[in-house]
């Protein structure tokens, strides 16, 4: 008999990591407070500074939530695009967690944009839905987000899920301007009424304020979701260290 290596434990950092407590994620309370404060104050400012619109009357006030929600969802899609490229380029698993957080918040915001657009459309155009370029492309955006989240939910392996959702994120983001252009041309050719796009100077302050408020809210949500995922990842790493701490064997 020559050397027969029996199971031996490897006292590496794995054993130490198994016992280490994991730092709880910090909730960015300042960001949550900022988001909440600007949201409330922005809506107060919006209501105080805006006289009823010549055509739309008080309906114009819906603009302070509808338009910022749409803008914030665009920011979310930019984050998704950037995170997706990072995942494919650097194989960075943290970028994947950011990707998931931003896509989820983006789906919520595009969904909200659609509902608000519908509520605005009913008294303005007399219908709950119109094939307006922005509304329609937001609907497509929403469906892309939904597909992204469905794919994530249906894929178990984290590494594969990261790569796949990054691919969907990149292709989806590239499509946003093309969808918008196509729907816009399509509508123009069909000669339907256009949406109220000119913003009166009286409404600029309220709109800006609310845009920042929604951006802060998005930042707060994405940050908390991202930190939660990081935390889950750290817990997972600890479980991994425990699973592997039983020792590895050598056969050399």
């Amino acid at each position: 008999m020559s050397s027969v290596t029996m199971p031996e434990s490897r006292p590496d950092r794995g054993a130490a990591a198994a016992a280490e407590p994991i730092a709880r994620p910090k909730v960015p309370w300042w960001l949550v407070g900022l988001a909440f404060g600007t949201l409330v104050s922005g809506q107060v400012v919006g209501f105080l500074t805006s006289e009823p619109d010549r055509d739309m009357g008080h309906l114009q006030k819906i603009m302070y939530v509808h338009v910022p929600a749409a803008w914030a969802s665009f920011i979310a899609f930019f984050i998704v695009f950037w995170a997706s490229v990072t995942v494919l380029w650097k194989r960075n698993e943290r970028a994947d967690l950011l990707n998931a957080a931003a896509a989820e918040a983006g789906a919520v915001l595009t969904g909200l944009t659609l509902v608000l657009g519908s509520i605005w459309g009913r008294p303005t155009w007399g219908v709950w839905w119109t094939w307006d370029a922005r509304l329609t492309s937001t609907a497509v955006l929403f469906l892309v987000f939904v597909g992204f989240l469905a794919l994530r939910a249906l894929t178990d392996d984290p590494e594969r899920r990261a790569r796949w959702s990054a691919a969907v994120g990149i292709l989806g983001a590239l499509n946003v301007p093309i969808v918008y252009m196509s729907v816009k041309w399509w509508r123009t050719l069909h000669q339907l009424q256009s949406s109220p796009s000119t913003v009166d100077a009286d409404y600029v302050l309220g709109l800006r304020w609310n845009a920042f408020a929604f951006a802060f809210a998005l930042a707060a949500f994405v940050t908390i979701r991202y930190r939660t995922a990081l935390f889950a990842l750290a817990a997972d790493r600890r479980a991994e260290a425990r699973a592997l701490a039983g020792g590895s064997t050598d056969a050399r």
């Binding site: 469905a150 249906l154 041309w185 050719l189």
Partner: protein, 228 residues
């Protein structure tokens, strides 16, 4: 030289997929039957009025191509999943984009062949004569199909290996195809009545832009999609 070898691999995949399909024709026959059914059923839904049918023909044709074509993509990967041929495929030397090139070429040819049957059928059912601008119509068909099949080939690589693949593929694919559907339908519709407003050109440009962007992007992301 090296590039020629890589193209040879793509050619091998194309040859392999088409040979398998030629043997059974199972995929082709069922997709064509599905296309016929869709054409017939849209006819029932739209009513027998010849004028209404004719004006709806372009839209119906494209929906038929999309709905029936989407059935083919998952099946094209099923070939690789039976007996785990995919793992072997990934272990051959060479670049991964060749796998995409081969699969894309096979799917393209397949959908073109389906269209060869579907389009005359649509012409008959919807009372559309051969248009004067038939060359441009063929160009629109080509560009629209390339965009559709490119994305279908990418998304099916994921959907075919996930749970609930039958639902996931259309859920991922169709929202992406909104520009293709709109541009191809508008361009085809305009060309069928000899393009009186001169609109078809800008739609064709949109289709071409879509194709260029997504063919390039798909070649870039596909290696990450197909591995593991």
């Amino acid at each position: 030289m090296a590039f020629a070898t890589e193209l040879g691999r793509a050619g091998a995949i194309l040859w392999k997929d088409l040979t398998a399909e030629r043997r059974t024709k199972a995929n082709f026959n069922s997709v064509v039957a599905m296309a016929g059914l869709i054409l017939l059923f849209f006819g029932f839904a739209l009513g027998p009025d010849a004028k209404g049918l004719r004006s709806a023909a372009a839209g119906v044709l494209w929906l038929t191509v999309l709905f029936s074509g989407v059935l083919a993509f998952n099946r094209s990967y099923q070939l690789e999943l039976d007996g785990n041929a995919l793992e072997q495929l990934l272990l051959y030397p060479g670049e991964r984009w060749t796998l995409f090139a081969g699969k894309l070429a096979a799917n393209l040819l397949f959908v073109f062949l389906v269209e060869v049957v579907t389009i005359p059928l649509a012409g008959i059912f919807y009372h559309v004569a051969v248009p004067a601008l038939w060359g441009q119509v063929l160009g629109v068909l080509f560009l629209g199909t390339v965009g559709f099949v490119t994305l279908g080939t990418v998304y099916a690589a994921m959907a075919s290996r996930s749970r609930a693949r039958e639902v996931l593929l259309p859920l991922l694919l169709f929202p992406m195809l909104v520009p293709v559907l709109i541009a191809a339908t508008e361009a085809t519709g305009a060309l069928l009545i000899d393009d009186p407003m001169g609109n078809a050109g800008s739609w064709i440009r949109l289709l071409a832009t879509f194709d260029v962007i997504f063919v390039v992007a798909s070649f870039w992301v596909f290696p990450a999609v197909i591995e593991g």
